[in-house]
Amino acid sequence: MVDVPSDVLAGIPPAEVGEVDLYHPRSWWTRYVFSQDAKIIAVQYAMTAMAIGMVALVLSWLMRLQLGFPGTFSFIDPSQYLQFITMHGMIMVIYLLTALFLGGFGNYLIPLMVGARDMVFPYANMLSYWIYLLAVLVLVATFFVPGGPTGAGWTLYPPQAILSGSPGQEAGIIMMLVSLILFIIGFTMGGLNYVVTVLQGRTRGMTLMRLPLTVWGIFTATVMALLAFPALFVASVMMLFDRLLGTSFFMPTLVEMGQLGKYGGGSPLLFQHLFWFFGHPEVYIVALPAFGIVSDLISTHARKNIFGYRMMVWAIVGIGAMSFVVWAHHMYVSGMNPKFGFFFATTTLIIAIPTAIKVYNWILTLWRGDIHLTVPMLFALAFIITFVNGGLTGLFLGNVVVDVPLSDTMFVVAHFHMVMGVAPIMVVFGAIYHWYPKVTGRMLNETLGRFHFWVTFLGAYAIFFPMHYLGLLGVPRRYHDIGGTAFVPASAHDLNAFMSIAALIVGFAQLVFVFNMIRSLSKGEDAGGNPWNATTLEWQTPQTPPAHGNWGKELPVVYRWAYDYSVPGAARDFIPQNEPPASLTPKGAHP
């Protein structure tokens, strides 16, 4: 039990807000389109992110078709294949996962979970979404410009990213960089909001150590994003100058198309350092909200308090801090001083410790819990499994000597898809099944949900588990067609075909999910205010879905931590955070 003494609150009435000084929408446009309400902005973020995510899903189908049945689909040429890879990676990592976790779940859950009426700067919050949308539109537009989108790989490594011969060198790379710069500007506006709301906008009784882990995960990830995105911003600006003005920040002297190019003296490695100084924290920007959300899902659906809450918080903060000193483990084959390899391998392995603490704590939370195998719980369990799988292969790749032969093989692809593709997506699904009732007031269909879960979970394993084996065989990544090579047995091609069929099935299963979301809007079972009997504040709102301003006249007062499940002697198996202790019933508090 977390333990800021509740006597601090004794006899203090809840914060009454005389005049609710919110921005009040005056028309349909300012209510639903240019809304300054974090909940609407959250839905806008989530819808946009999922829409662009569907594009990335289709791109992954096209890649899998080519890999599974090389030569069959003549409309996929090698250039297009590279463009599909690039856009798939970029969209999934930044425009889907980052935007959905921070812009979507962050906007919805932070004000509700900390007991605030809204984000602290609603106007900047609104701008954040519209700039994000602009970034997405610029990104989509690259599909329609001459030369198509960039095919430089999602890491955009120079020099090849801006040299002729790389697909999308004409306009695609420029628009990609502009889109990234826009995304970062938009994100900063939202990110400042999330951080200040958590630090300065909490309700009475809500101490930092009473925050649900969801808020801790999103908060830490946002702080990291505010410190990591600048590196990407700078790298994008510099590469844009290299491409547009002909500067040589990243471009060495080189021969292009048989002629000595205009560039000279730049350092491609500098870009890699800047990119991965952003890129590695980015992994945890996606993972930490997932960690936080999954902790809450497990605790709620296992009806047990989270095991080792304080340790969980410090593990999140520790992972966040550590992730800024591991970036060069992405660059073992880039030609660094070997001593750096030693340093970064060490830090990489150390970061496994807090991560392992989290996994053990999830398991111990489940241990002897009253586990309800609801759809959110199924997805949470699937997350633990896929995350452990991806984490263990991460230990392989974190060691220099093991990484060097595995670099640029399918093993790497399998690793990062398991750890930051499948695992966070499992949490996204679990979280949507968990909070959809609060957002819409209706439950998602359970049967469709279970179908969606099993196809997605088993299908994702069918795609990515064999990929480890292909990687160990030495099948390279990013190749349009590996052709006939002596070290790749014929059976590997059968495996590729199998994985491609699995990918198609998993992709189609997402349509079931989309159908479920649309259908449940009108036909879903009525959810009531708190269908999961959860303790956190967002389930205690006076209305469901929560009205503008979230709470009534009075803000809630928090008396306990977020995990009072199955407390011995309590009347119910959960005690909401705003329920006062029996000994203490302050005047005018909620009963």
Binding site: V4, V8, L9, I12, A15, V17, E19, V20, D21, L22, Y23, A116, D118, V120, F121, P122, Y123, T188, G191, L192, N193, V196, L199, Q200, G201, R202, T203, R204, M206, T207, L208, M209, R210, L226, L227, F229, P230, A231, F233, V234, A235, V237, M238, F241, L245, G246, T247, S248, F249, K262, G264, G265, G266, S267, L270, L274, F277, G549, L555, V558
Partner: protein, 240 residues
């Protein structure tokens, strides 16, 4: 939404000071920084993020400068001016630095008068600060023009490593953009102070929120940050 009123904080503040006070604040409810408003907290966190942007720019520049195989032009010579027959190295930069540092002084005075609700002095001092800032940007424009006339381009220059021009235009350009935004911001806030928006609790046009004189201090935070960044640019780019 209005900021929630803290009612129970005074009691605790008197009992705990120093490190224990920090721990007490951070383990308390509602706010981690007790006397800090939302706007000020936001500006501090934004500046932390912006520090990383300038840090990355400067580190990239230093990497380029240290790793180039072609000699780096000598900044003392490049940025020298001949005034009245005297060849003085770095004179323009020295003046620019002096102007910008002075503007920090007038800004600090504006913050002081703002909290005293002295509208006239606050607005005048903010406009003086803005004028210093505009002078700085003007001198920077002069410097850019001079270098461009001498053949310095982002992709080449007559004296050595081509990264000299690219780093120079990028870093001073990015800093100059910050100063320009600061000047615009100062003028907008000075107008609000002059008009008495913060006395009449007039609501913002976009945000429909009431402001107060703290916005002068928040503007000041940004302005001092931009000055501080210039000190680093001055040291690393011109004096190295």
């Amino acid at each position: 939404m209005t900021e929630t009123v803290l009612t129970n904080i005074e009691k605790r503040r008197t009992t705990t000071v120093g490190w224990q006070g920090i721990v007490a604040d951070w383990s308390s409810d509602q706010r981690a920084f007790k006397n800090v408003s939302w706007g000020k907290a936001m500006m501090w966190i934004f500046l932390l993020s912006d520090t990383f942007i300038f840090g990355c720019f400067l580190l990239s520049y230093m990497t380029a400068r240290m790793s180039t195989a072609v000699p780096w032009p000598n900044p003392s010579e490049v940025f020298a001016l001949t005034i009245a027959g005297q060849h003085i190295p770095l004179i323009l930069i020295a003046i620019m630095t002096f102007v910008l540092i002075s503007s920090s002084g007038t800004m600090a005075m504006a913050v002081n008068f703002g909290y005293r609700h002295d509208r006239r002095k606050t607005a005048i001092l903010m406009l003086v600060t803005a004028a210093f800032g505009a002078t700085f940007v003007g001198m920077q424009a002069f410097e850019w023009t001079k270098l461009i006339m001498e053949g310095v381009r982002p992709w080449e220059n007559p004296w050595g490593a081509e990264q000299f021009g690219s780093c120079f235009f990028m870093i001073t350009g990015f800093h100059g953009t910050h100063v320009t935004i600061g000047v615009i911001f100062l003028i907008i806030i000075a107008r609000k102070v002059w008009r008495g928006d913060f006395e009449t609790e007039r609501r913002g046009f976009f945000t429909s929120r009431k402001g107060n004189y703290e916005i002068v201090e928040i503007t000041g935070l940004y302005w001092h940050f931009v000055d501080l960044v210039w000190v680093f640019i001055f040291a690393f780019f011109y004096l190295w």
